[in-house]
């Protein structure tokens, strides 16, 4: 095994992307994700890759669209306000069935908001973010090692299903350092892309990358086909982690940094004899409905711990088909709930079901 080194989450994403064969990066500076661009700016010129600071996030995502059209692994990264600007391009990527990776290191909003960690782009990410019927695969890392692993996974899934993958992190995950091993990452090389616009070489019909379809019957069919593909993704690619759920009366739902805070609270509550567990969705879309549904067979209550005003809670309610109450335990605007707040919420909920 290669030596582990300490890396910021943002740097780990950049290093993992290069390891995954991404030789093209386009971005625009915005806190708290700028280390990704800085890393790329330093490394790409030395390995014959492209780092380009675009004139805007809109331009950056469209440069991504260009490289993706040409069949190569490509990425961009930003933070919440910048990702809103990328929404148009992400919709076009979906409409043209192009694989790409977008990283969102979230900060508090709405508007210019703040720069401290947030998870308030959950709706935006899991519902698509731009116009039209589509999904991205949304991956939510909870450690620096996962920042790296899910970046690689994001490229692989994007290529496999011709979709955009998003790594949805937050300011904490981006800024914190933890031990990480980049050299040990396993990477599946990109598949053949016969649809790519790389020039006909006068040897085939021309390829067209396009999201325009003016005949509604045909556009409907394209949507149907895309959603058939999404169904396969839902069946095969859902990821989550369970912690002490088997006997739990109370189940916490939390992802990313909120899951780490919650894990501490679960341990503390267990010391007090409260049977509480944690389900951590790793894919936010597709949302891991099955473990929640299963937990609802024995759990009496759920708590959704989020760094927003309550967004994932809706998916939890849907997953458990509202069989039992779901309480929100949250902070917003760049604040992070601490284990004590989560523990208090557990105690309160426990009092209610005892």
């Amino acid at each position: 095994m290669a030596d582990k080194i300490l890396m910021k989450g943002n740097e780990a994403i950049a290093a993992a992307a290069i390891k995954a064969g991404c030789m093209h990066y386009f971005g625009y500076p915005i806190t708290p994700q700028t280390e990704i661009a800085a890393y790329m700016a330093k490394v790409m010129p030395k390995i014959g890759g492209t780092f380009l600071q675009a004139e805007s996030e809109i331009a950056a995502i469209n440069m991504v669209y260009g490289v993706a059209s040409a069949g190569k692994r490509v990425m961009t990264s930003s933070s919440s306000p910048g990702v809103s600007l990328k929404g148009e391009g992400i919709s076009y990527l979906a409409g043209s069935d192009l694989p790409a990776l977008v990283v969102n290191v979230q900060r508090g909003g709405p508007g210019l908001g703040g720069i401290q960690p947030s998870q308030s782009d959950y709706f935006q990410s899991t519902r698509g973010g731009g116009h039209g019927d589509y999904h991205m695969i949304v991956l939510a890392p909870a450690s620096v090692q996962e920042m790296a692993e899910l970046t690689v996974k994001g490229f692989e899934l994007a290529d496999k299903y011709r979709v955009t993958s998003m790594v949805l992190a937050d300011g904490t995950m981006g800024q914190m350092m933890e031990p990480v091993s980049i050299d040990d990452l396993k990477v599946n090389p990109a598949p053949e892309k016969p649809w790519a616009t790389t020039g006909t070489q006068m040897a085939r019909e021309h390829n067209i990358v396009n999201s325009l379809s003016l005949v509604p019957e045909e556009l409907e069919q394209l949507n149907f086909e895309r959603y058939d593909r999404y169904k396969v993704i839902e069946e095969n690619e859902t990821m989550y982690e369970e912690y002490k759920v088997d006997d739990a009366d109370i189940v916490i739902a939390a992802f990313g940094i909120a899951a780490r805070v919650s894990k501490n609270a679960v341990d503390e509550a267990r010391k007090l004899g409260i049977k509480v567990g944690l389900i951590r969705p790793i894919t936010l879309w597709p949302f891991p409905k099955a473990p929640f549904k299963k937990a609802a067979e024995h759990a009496k209550a759920f708590i959704s711990v989020e760094l927003n005003m309550g967004q994932m809670i809706e998916d939890v309610q849907l997953a458990i088909e509202s069989k039992c109450p779901v309480t929100l335990c949250n902070r917003a605007g760049g604040m992070i709930p601490d284990p004590e707040q989560v523990l208090n919420s557990i105690k309160e909920v426990n009092g209610g079901i005892a």
């Binding site: 300490l6 806190t31 720069i115 914190m176 350092m177 780490r260 805070v261």
Partner: protein, 179 residues
Amino acid sequence: MSAKNMLFSGFGGQGILFAGKFIAYKGLIEDKQVSWLPSYGPEMRGGTASCSVIVSDTPVGSPIVSNPDILVAMNLPSLDRFESKVVPGGMIFADSTLIERKVERDDVKVFYIPATKMASDEKLGNLANMIIVGKLLKETGDYTEDGIRAALDKVIPAKRANMKDVNFKAIQMGAEFEG
């Protein structure tokens, strides 16, 4: 102790983040679980700087240290802000060159180190941070010469290798300081 939750604080330019990173690397080298989380944003530029460092025998949960076992305060605003947060029985390491007041609590162990003055007397430039780190390692029983050397190898880039001995000297001075 299975986990040490540490908070390093001061103003920008004092090497707060570097000191934290050094402690994290030393933990990593000694097979501990570690995390390092800086404050970030405009406050980095000239204002206060702080970072959370956790060194633990078990996987690190939340990387945010709100109630440190160990507080390093290198200026007055940092002590004012974090003194009350330290867990009872915890430790506070204060740079007494820059902090004139005493710690008000009596349920924590306090070490006053005139680190900024020591660094300047010994021509150690701005290594007050590492003097305090030396004292911290000594008092927590983590002063291991090999670990320190190995961690310095990790945090100081090869092209500034000449800085390694100076840093080691600062750490040593801090460890030997009796205050």
